[in-house]
Symmetry: C2
Subunit: 216 residues, 2 copies
DNA sequence: CTCACAAAAGTTGTATACAATACTGGGAAT
DNA sequence: ATTCCCAGTATTGTATACAACTTTTGTGAG
């Protein structure tokens, strides 16, 4: 049976606004007027409010007092900060995942890694975007197997923000993609060995390397 | 000039519900019915909804789909999980803070540490609660000086949850308090030396020690 | 021209009513 | 007895109206 899965208005609003922030239609500092967004999306202000709160918690939107919300400013320094935090937390998560990940989990990682390599080789016009999505899934799998729901929740905002930043500043350039693929395959090996220290170190390397995409 | 600072209904609702969760009036698994809470607090459902969303993001409330929200279940294993995550994140924060903290920041830390020692010595009936509050402030100061707003935001839910857990399971027993004071003074020394590795290590020690309060 | 200030417009916060969904209990089929 | 299903009730989701607050605009004094 096909699940047409009716979505709540709040969810629709959330996706809509999120998309517009990620694709750059709504740039840093742009005001998010509830009324306007509601009219644009075709729902009332109530679900829009919910969506904005959610986006605020995820760090994509800034709001304070009774003032109008705006798209949060993502400076270059924030990119650095995100990478550093992710290097710290995801390596921790990788270490935990090493001893907990299931064979199915590893198979899933391999599937995504393979897809990413294909994307890099085909090198279509949207390669960077496709890669970015797959990459997020890859990292999400690892977090899911870290056996800590709280950690998973804590990381979400960080991943969100970086999704925006990557697409905006094109941090994922060609050179970097092939290197990432190599890191991913190494990571998978560490997981297969169920070696926490290796997995942790490998993940840290991966993140810190991504932080400096320009370096030869 | 005295700021009477009129609070929004949403803020009032948030504080009210949060308090009831922390002091145990609302126990794990209790249903949070918007209508009832609204009547009890004396506001409409709208700000109550906002408050519940906020509490959900902070990890104190669980909700999914259109089902009614409930007070999240805080198992013993979650306590362990929180301590582990905090050991990881706060030691990282402490390392960063070591090179960034100002003399004023250090003075503030000392002030709080001293107050905590007094509380432990006086040993009044509410010593544990007072200590817990001061302790939170102490750790908050360090996070504030880590120079990473994102990290600060990420930690908030973790601190919140633990506040509940500590009060509920009385993790802060006498033995543990004096030990914590000792750790705090050591931490301050590390900050005064502006030694990241020392501060980080000391904080990790502190958190992992707190995780096992029973050990002699 | 610039500043201060007040009026007007714009926007968010809250309350309330209704719609959609989830929960509860009892009765029928097995 | 047990399971399934249905209707009735409870609760949440959404829309709308109004109140409170914020921002902009316009006007006059210096």
């Amino acid at each position: 049976m096909i699940q047409t899965q009716k979505q709540s208005a709040a969810e629709v609003a959330y996706r809509h606004i999120r998309r517009r922030i990620i694709d750059g239609t709504l740039q840093s500092g742009a005001f998010l007027i509830e009324q306007d967004l509601a009219a644009e999306i075709g729902v009332s202000r109530t679900p829009v409010r919910d969506a904005l709160h959610r986006l605020e918690n995820e760090g994509l939107v800034h709001a304070e007092g009774n003032k109008r919300a705006m798209v949060r400013d993502f400076s270059e320094s924030e990119v650095e900060e995100c990478f550093e935090l992710r290097a710290q937390f995801e390596s921790f998560a990788a270490g935990r995942a090493a001893t907990r990940i299931t064979p199915e989990g590893i198979a899933e990682l391999k599937r995504h890694a393979t897809r990413m390599e294909e994307v890099v080789n085909d090198a279509g016009p949207e390669a960077a975007l496709k890669f970015s999505d797959l990459n997020d899934l890859f990292h999400a799998i690892i977090l899911d197997h870290a056996g800590s729901p709280r950690l998973r929740e804590l990381m979400r905002p960080l991943m969100q923000v970086q999704l925006v930043l990557m697409k905006r500043y094109r941090h994922t350039i060609e050179m970097h993609l092939t290197r990432s693929c190599w890191h991913h395959s190494e990571l998978i090996r560490a997981f297969e060995a169920h070696d926490p220290a290796w997995a942790e170190s490998q993940m840290r390397t991966h993140m810190l390397s991504a932080k400096n995409p320009g370096a030869a």
